[in-house]
Amino acid sequence: MNTFSESALAAGRMLVSADPVLWAIVGRSLWVSACSCVAACGFGLLAGAWIGVSRFPGRSVVLTLLNTLLALPSVVVGLVVYLLLSNSGPLGFLGWLFSFKAMVIAQALLVLPVVTALTRQVVEDAERAHGEQLRSLGATPLRRALLLMWDERYSLFTVLIAAFGRAVSEVGAVMVVGGNIDGFTRVMTTAIALETSKGDLPLALALGGLLLLVVLALNLAIALLRGWRERVDGAATPALASRLA
């Protein structure tokens, strides 16, 4: 047997035997990503919807910046959060560096542009198509933003799932601000990087397999959501949701 097949077998055994180390890492990883998505979505959905319906001087600059931030390297986010939270940084007094909270902040900053930019696109498309009718009913820009968010909620669920996918699969930022401390800040991606460098391929492979399963489950969720939505109201899936799926 070669290294890959031996490692794959060992990884399978770890998964079947419900290895506590493995599952602790998986649980922590999912929890960090969920918390960061909740934090990012709280602001990103509202900001994106607002930008989608409003017109203000400098809007095109904001959009360019937002689209640029979509390609934000995760290690850069990690570095910025590290500098902010380090002892000599402005937020050093919090003592959050190398903690769960630091990882949540870093991932939230990483997915915030994703949520904001995609929400802006969804809401702006809806505004272009239906905003005039809502204005005719007397809806102010804020109410239009909220109504269009509600109306496009299935597309926005897709955005949230995509954001979660981005968060759970990133490695650079959580490595820098979390420190990959065993039993404390070690998550799937940082564990894979570490175990691979140590040569412990079975654990790395088992985690890699689980990460793939998580991403697969997310894509499956998007597909199910699309199918269910089409059954419920017979509406065509917007182009954005199709692209993300």
Partner: protein, 234 residues
């Protein structure tokens, strides 16, 4: 049917609207009085929808002026393809009332009355998006009627409907518009004859004829308008 006052509800003076390089309306001068039923006719792109949107305050006049005694909140506009939010028929009607300041609970009670008025009370809880085109147009009429508007603006309200639904919706329009000022765009000259008291013919954004309905169909018309009428009736 027509109750005409001396002070016009809308007064347009040399009004114009531009979309980039396109002059959608130009030099439009007309008065619309309370209680009138005005039909806007003309080919596609003649400026009918633009004129409705200008009257409703959805577009500003780039040239000339619009003086309106009917603020936007006393108007309701029905679009060719009404947009229903992804919610029940009842919520869609209540939404219009809520947006104009009514409490949600009261809005729903009023909405139920409006749905009964257009014969949709049986589908009040159904997802509005699953209703047929004709039902959605009736729902939009209920939403407009619920607002108790003084002015009803309709943009080709039956254009995308089958003949049966067209008849239903047209009858409802006649009913709902009773006692209100009605301005509607239509390609259907039969409908214009049945609903309107005055016809405005537009071409390339200009008003070429503005006549009482009988004169429009029986009197002398500018050549372009005559060709349009013959073409639509053919």
């Amino acid at each position: 049917m027509t109750r005409r006052n001396d002070t016009p509800l809308f007064r347009l003076h040399d009004a114009g609207v531009r979309f980039g390089d396109v002059q959608a309306l130009r030099d439009v001068t007309l008065d619309i009085h309370a209680g009138e039923r005005v039909a806007l006719v003309g080919a596609n792109g003649s400026g009918k929808s633009t004129l409705l949107r200008l009257l409703h305050g959805l577009l500003p006049a780039a040239q000339g002026s619009l003086t309106s005694l009917a603020p936007a909140r006393t108007q309701a506009m029905l679009f060719q393809r009404p947009h229903m939010i992804r919610a029940s028929a009842l919520s869609n009607v209540a939404l219009g009332l809520w947006l104009r300041g009514m409490r949600w609970r009261d809005a729903k009670a009023h909405a139920l009355d409006a749905l009964a008025r257009v014969g949709l009370d049986q589908v009040a809880r159904r997802n509005a998006r699953t209703l047929s085109g004709g039902q959605q147009q009736r729902l939009a009429l209920a939403r407009a009627w619920a607002l108790s508007p003084a002015v009803l603006l309709l943009d080709e309200p039956t254009a995308s409907l089958d003949p049966h639904a067209k008849r239903d919706v047209e009858a409802l329009i006649g009913d709902v518009a009773d006692g209100r000022t009605l301005v509607f765009a239509s390609h259907n000259l039969g409908q214009v004859k049945r609903l309107a008291t005055r016809v405005i013919y537009l071409e390339y954004g200009r008003v070429l004829a503005d006549l009482p309905v009988r004169d429009f169909f029986e009197g002398a018309l500018p050549k372009e308008a005559m060709l349009f009428v013959k073409g639509e009736l053919a």
